[in-house]
Amino acid sequence: MGCLALAAAAPPLGLFLMLRRMSLTADVLAHGILPGVAAGFLLAGLSLPVMAAGGLVAGLAVAVGAGALSRATGGREDASLAALYLVALATGVALVSWRGSAVELTTLLFGSVLGVDDAALLLMAGSSTVTLVALAFAWRPLVLECFDPGFAQAVGARGAWWHAGFLALVVLNLIAAFQALGTLMAVGLMMLPAIAARHWARQVGGMTYAAVAIAAASAYGGLLFSFHADVPSGPAVVLAAGFAWLLSVLCGPVDGLLPRLLRRPHLAG
C-alpha cells in the first residue's frame, strides 16, 4: 500500500531530476537525510516522527548547501556533490553505530517492511498526495525551466523558486520512503523507473505514466520477493526496478537495443 503511494509520487520527480541531469543530486539528497535520521535515532530511538523531522531538516540543509556549493565552486557541481554525499553517509553511519546495533543500522540503511506502522503509512500517503497536487500545479513552470531556462528567466517565470520547491518535494518523498526502503535505497524507486521510462515514451507526459507504472510494478514485485526470499525490502524493490530498467534498455521501443538490432535498413522490405 505505502509503496504504491510512493510509486505514484516519486517517479515523476525522478523524471525531472533526470531531465535536468541531476540524477546525482537525488543520490546526494538521499544520503544527506541519513545524518538527520541518525540524529533523530540517537535522541529518541526508532521513533518515526523524530527521525523524519531530523531527516527533513538535514535533507533541506543539504539541498540548500549543494546549491550554494555549486555556485561557490563555479559549476563543478558533480565533484562537490560526490564529496558531500560521502561525508553525509559516513556521518550517518558513524552516528548510528555509536549507539545502535548492527540490526538497527541495517534497518535504517536498507529498510524493513515490518517497520512500517500506521504512522509511516500515513506519512507515505500524505507526502504522495502533497507531491502529486504540487506537481500538477507546478508542471508548466518546471517543464519550461528544464527545457529553456533562459526563456523562463526572460518571461519572469521565477525558475529558481520553482526549482527550490521541487527539491523540497524530493526531500519529502525520500523521507516518506526511508522507513520502507531505507535511506540508501529510497532514491532507487525515484530514479530507476524514471530512467527506464525514457525507453517507453518520447514526451514528458507519456514518460510520467510509464515511470509510475514501472515503479508500481517494481514495488509490488520487490515486496513479494522480499517477503518470500527474506531479503530487506529496500534492495528487493530496487532490484525489481533495476530489472525493469534492464528490460527497458533491451526491449523499449524508444532507443532500445533489440528494436535497434531488428530494424531493417530503410530501403528493405
Binding site: A138, P141, V143, C146, F151, V155, R202, V204
Partner: protein, 246 residues
Amino acid sequence: MNPAEIRLTDLTLTHARRPAVHHVSGRFAPGSLTAVVGPNGAGKSTLLRALAGLHRPETGRIEGAAGQIALLPQAAAVDRAFPIACLDVVLFGLWGETGAFRAIGRAGRERARAALAAVGLAGFEARPAGSLSAGQFQRLLFARLLLQDAPVILLDEPFNALDARTAADLLAMVHRWHGEGRTVVAVLHDLDLVRREFPLSLLLARDCLGWGPTAEVLTAANRLRARMMAEAWAAEPEPCERRDAA
C-alpha cells in the same frame, strides 16, 4: 502595435567589471528596424540582454523597454534533448498571458497552430522538438515569438547556420513584424544582408562607433576602426578608465 521609444543614456554594461558595452547613448525609435553589428566580444548580445532586463547596467539607464520585449537568444541555452512536443514549445509563448497556472484554452491552441503554419512547420504539432533540424528548430522559436506578440522584438544572430531558404523565410517574418509597427533589433554578422534589408544600424565595438542610417554607419573607415579596437582588446583587456579621467 504601439511600442514605446527605448532610450539608452550613457549605458555601460560589464562582465566582472570589464566593460562589454561602454558609455553608449542613443534611441531606438518606435517601429524602427535596426541591425546591431560589430566584432565578436563587442557587447552586442550583452546589450540585447540588458534591453530585455536580464543584465543590470553598471552605470547609465535604459528607459522605455520594461515589459514589452520578446528576446530570441542565441540557440545555445535550450536543452534540445528535452522530450517535448513542438506545439507545447510554441505554447510557452503565451506565458505572458497565462503565467504558470491559467488555462490555455482552445483559442490559444489555435493561435499556436497558426503560428507553426506561419513559419512553415504545419503538421509538426506532435513531433518531438529534439527531432527537428537546426533550421526547423529556429523556425519553431520564431513561432514562439509570434505567439508572444510583443511590441519590441530582439533577435540575437537569428540567421546563423541556416540555409538560404530558411533565412529568407525568417527574414520575411522580420519584415512582417516591422510592417506591423513593432520595434525590431537584430544582432547580425552578414553585412551584405544588413545593407540590403536593414534601414538602421548600430556599429558596436564596446563603444558605439556609429548609429543611424546603415549606409552612413557601415563605412569602410568605421569598420576598420571597429576591427582595430577588437584587436586592441585581445592584446590587453583593461578595466574602464574613462570614469577616472572624467
